[in-house]
């Protein structure tokens, strides 16, 4: 009798213990963003409109049609006067970047931001268990992850991952990687470093599709600290609720629409094809299809089902794209961090999601202030929202980004506590939003549109002689 009772009690205790272990495993799969630090380059790296003009002038192989094209791009880009570029371009050596130049560009970011994050969060580098670095277009050996380990003297058993070539949506791939490591249950502290290298990737040819990259990319970066330790939840800024990755590389057009390759003469550049918007739309649609059921409240999903069925009953051959626009994402999401790929991208995504001017303002302002900083742009957008004190406890933030391949990655964060840290926006947030976003380039170089080839050459000679 006692034996049986003892045995049953032991089984009960063991089951409870396993239950506790299972529960703690589930808890540890939470992903908390403790803090993040964006990079603000030194002010001697600012690129103004005038400097952009000078850089374009330096390329003597450009003719009238190329000038017109570049003018159109820069004017429509939505980029302002305070964006930052790499030193070698500012110093006039964009055609012949050296390995040291590229490394210097990275060092300027890594030596500042990683240390800043440790100071801000009061974490020692020896506490870091996982380090993920993604810099798409520069991948030296030893990796930049190893460079950070060396500089901060991290532990021997730190797990480093150096992602490369994954495009502008790579910071979310980094978050996905970290999230998967967190699921193992062990209490882990992870640092994600995301940036882009512009120095070695300047295109010095005449292929129009490859010149876009020159005009739009700017220097920037972000370092984030994540953990799955529930003890740090109080300190955390946001929790990750869900993350959806979509890769439509299986479609040849999508794969080829953003590709690094050589032009006819053999100069390497980043080719952006005309099929890019179409690929982006496809990837976006597929991503939203998977994302919507995970983030929207059941009421909205039920309403959508009702609307679709009604629509199908009335006009069975109607396309699904218009039906998609009628999902109200604002029912499940309070703030939208859109990738600042360009004003066209922001407008398109805003229209697709049915967003107002207020919703797209953070992305527009980030594009104006920082330019397209590639994978780190989402974090500058988040910083804007924080500086504007828009993020309150319980708010849900949706991040969407696109990248070469073609990928569309999105994730949903829930704000853990009221946030008001200005970070890199602190000194200029009161100037935003500005009265006008019109680019002053238009007035300075508007004469380009009025010229023919001959008169262009004449006025060019005059223009150059006045400098």
């Amino acid at each position: 009798m006692e034996v049986l009772a003892t045995l049953t009690t032991l089984m009960l205790i063991y089951s409870l213990y396993l239950l506790y272990k299972f529960y703690s495993l589930k808890l540890s799969s939470d992903c908390y963003l403790i803090d993040y630090v964006c990079f603000k380059p030194s002010s001697d790296r600012k690129i103004t409109t005038e400097m952009s003009g000078a850089i374009v002038d330096r390329n003597k192989t450009l003719g009238l049609s190329e000038y017109k094209f570049l003018l159109k791009v820069i004017v429509n880009s939505g980029i302002g006067e305070e964006t930052y570029g790499p030193r070698n371009i500012i110093e006039g050596r964009e055609d012949s970047p050296t390995f040291d130049d590229a490394m210097l560009e990275m060092d300027e970011f890594l030596n500042v931001s990683v240390g800043d994050l440790f100071k801000k969060t009061n974490i020692s580098p020896q506490d870091v268990d996982v380090l993920v670095v993604n810099i798409s277009m520069f991948s030296p050996a030893p990796s930049l992850a190893s460079r950070i380990v060396q500089r901060h003297k991290m532990r021997e058993d730190v797990k480093t991952y150096n992602l490369s070539g994954m495009g502008c949506s790579a910071s979310m791939i980094g978050v996905d990687l970290v999230r998967n490591i967190f699921k193992s249950g062990k209490k882990t502290l992870a640092v994600i470093v995301t940036s882009e290298s512009i120095t070695p990737n300047w295109y010095s040819g005449t292929d129009k599709s490859m010149m876009l990259g020159n005009m739009l990319f700017r220097s920037g970066g972000c370092v984030m600290l994540l953990t799955n330790d529930p003890a740090r939840q109080a300190q955390a800024k946001m929790n990750l609720k869900c993350l959806v990755r979509t890769h439509i590389g299986s479609n040849d057009d999508a794969y080829n629409c953003a590709m690094q390759k050589e032009d006819e003469v053999g100069r390497v550049g980043f080719h952006l094809s005309k099929g890019l918007p179409k690929a982006a739309v496809r990837a976006f649609a597929e991503n939203l299809q998977q994302l919507a059921p995970k983030i929207l409240p059941y009421s909205e999903l039920a309403l959508y089902m009702y609307r679709t069925i009604k629509q199908m009953a009335v006009k069975p051959k109607d396309s699904s794209s218009s039906a998609m626009a009628r999902i109200n994402f604002k029912s499940g999401v309070d703030h939208f961090c859109l990738h600042t790929g360009g004003s066209a991208v922001i407008d398109a995504v805003g229209r697709a999601l049915g967003l107002s001017k207020y919703d797209v303002e953070p992305a527009r302002m980030t594009l104006h202030r920082w330019g397209n900083t590639s994978a780190s742009s989402l974090w500058y957008v988040l910083g804007y929202m924080e500086a504007k004190k828009r993020l309150r406890k319980g708010d849900r933030v949706l991040m969407i980004s696109f990248g070469a391949g073609f990928k569309c990655n999105s994730c949903l964060w829930e704000v853990n506590r009221d946030l008001d840290d200005g970070d890199v926006w602190a000194d200029c947030i009161k100037n935003y939003p500005p009265q006008s976003l019109v680019n002053p380039y238009m007035e300075r170089f508007g004469w380009v549109n009025d010229h023919t080839e001959d008169s262009f050459k004449q006025s060019e000679r005059e223009f150059l002689s006045t400098r």
Partner: protein, 499 residues
Amino acid sequence: MATEPSPQFLNSIRLKYVKLGYQYLVNHILTFLLIPIIITILVELAHVGPDEIISLFRFLNELDLIYIISSMLLVIIGATFYLMCKPRPVFLVDYACFRPLPNFRVPFSTFVEHSRLVPQFDEKTVRFQIRILERSGLGEETCLPPANHYIPPTCSMAAAREEAELVIFSAIDELLNKTGMKPKNIDMLIVNCSLFSPTPSLSAMVINKYKLRSNVMSFNLSGMGCSAGLISIDLARNLLQSHGNSYALVVSTEIITPNYYLGKERSMILPNCLFRMGAAAILLSNCRREGSRAKYRLSHVVRTHKGADDAAYNCVFQEQDSEGNCGIKLSKDLMAIAGEALKSNITTMGPLVLPSCEQLLFLFSLIARKVFKSKRKPYIPDFKSAFEHFCIHAGGRAVIDELQNNLQLSDEHVEASRMTLHRFGNTSSSSLWYELNYIEAKGRMKKGNRVWMIGFGSGFKCNSAVWKCLRTVKTPVDGPWSSSIHRYPVEIPDVVKLL
């Protein structure tokens, strides 16, 4: 006439038996402890009379049904939770290596001739390259990609992409054929290539070619050196252990085309002479049904990063020389640093894999040195007792020599590494898989065998993985060694005279 065996010899035999006896005792200690317990129970049972048994049965009948059901339920719940909390096993279903065609071969004569004809190399540099090749341990069948057969080599991005497509796609095609795997069933994809990282990534290239699903989890690792293959395996393991039934495809390669050094720095010339074309594709899974056909199960992965030490960080460094040529500089203390990194790795790996007897010896030796300040040499655990096979990254002859020395391995243990270096050269992260294939092709891989893979890479990293063989691999093995295994092992001279 039989001579009296020397006292040293007798002593060593006695020692050997003592050692064997000690090993047996410690490894089976639990069994030895159980024996008295079993005897006690048997004795007790013998005392129990039939009356007591009948009264026990009557008691059980009187119990409430609820009590019985709840006990059974608890047992079932306990068992379910136990199974759910257990980390899922990671199986290596199969793997395939790139088989270079004979027209890519670079025999010594071709290498010497090409070096002489490349305009950027002066006579001193050519002589230096030839001297390295003479002592490298490479054979005449190693292969370079098509672009490197041009004089001078054409290092364009298009050529690099072509090489990537050639090596990666043939490895993956072979793997999919062997396993009967459909590309759309692949859930995770990890590609690692250290020195070539275009945008879109090589992982996107694989997704495009094989039309993988849109929700495939892809990662492209780059810049992580020759040990990146094991980093990819570690990442795949993390992914597989946090998802349901899934398949992960890991591709390890190194693209040679854009990395040919065209300068005169001696410390940067070595990679030209050693790095060769290669790739491996590995299919991992956590499906329990794969356990019946999988070749190996992953036991442990241990990663060590010595980057905090400045000398270790700088010993393998990519940079531009004074003339603007990009290359990888190798420092002179590379071997010492590799040895140190290995020691750190072993310290973590040891407790996981060594049998109890070795661990106790190591512990005693450690206590003796630290607590009692004994001056004896540190005890190096005998890893031969933990593993049957060793795959050491074929980074170069010196690396294999150093490790053989450090781990006190016999020539047979490092044969796979030496022969792979001879036949394929240094194929970077995929070399471990060529070595594994050698062991299989030689018919040495039996069920239950444990394999230790050790990789080194820039950073400086030392990563190792332990695999357990799940089924005896039958020969002949269809793989990169099919056409040449009958000629191996070969005697590799210290110096092959080329000049």
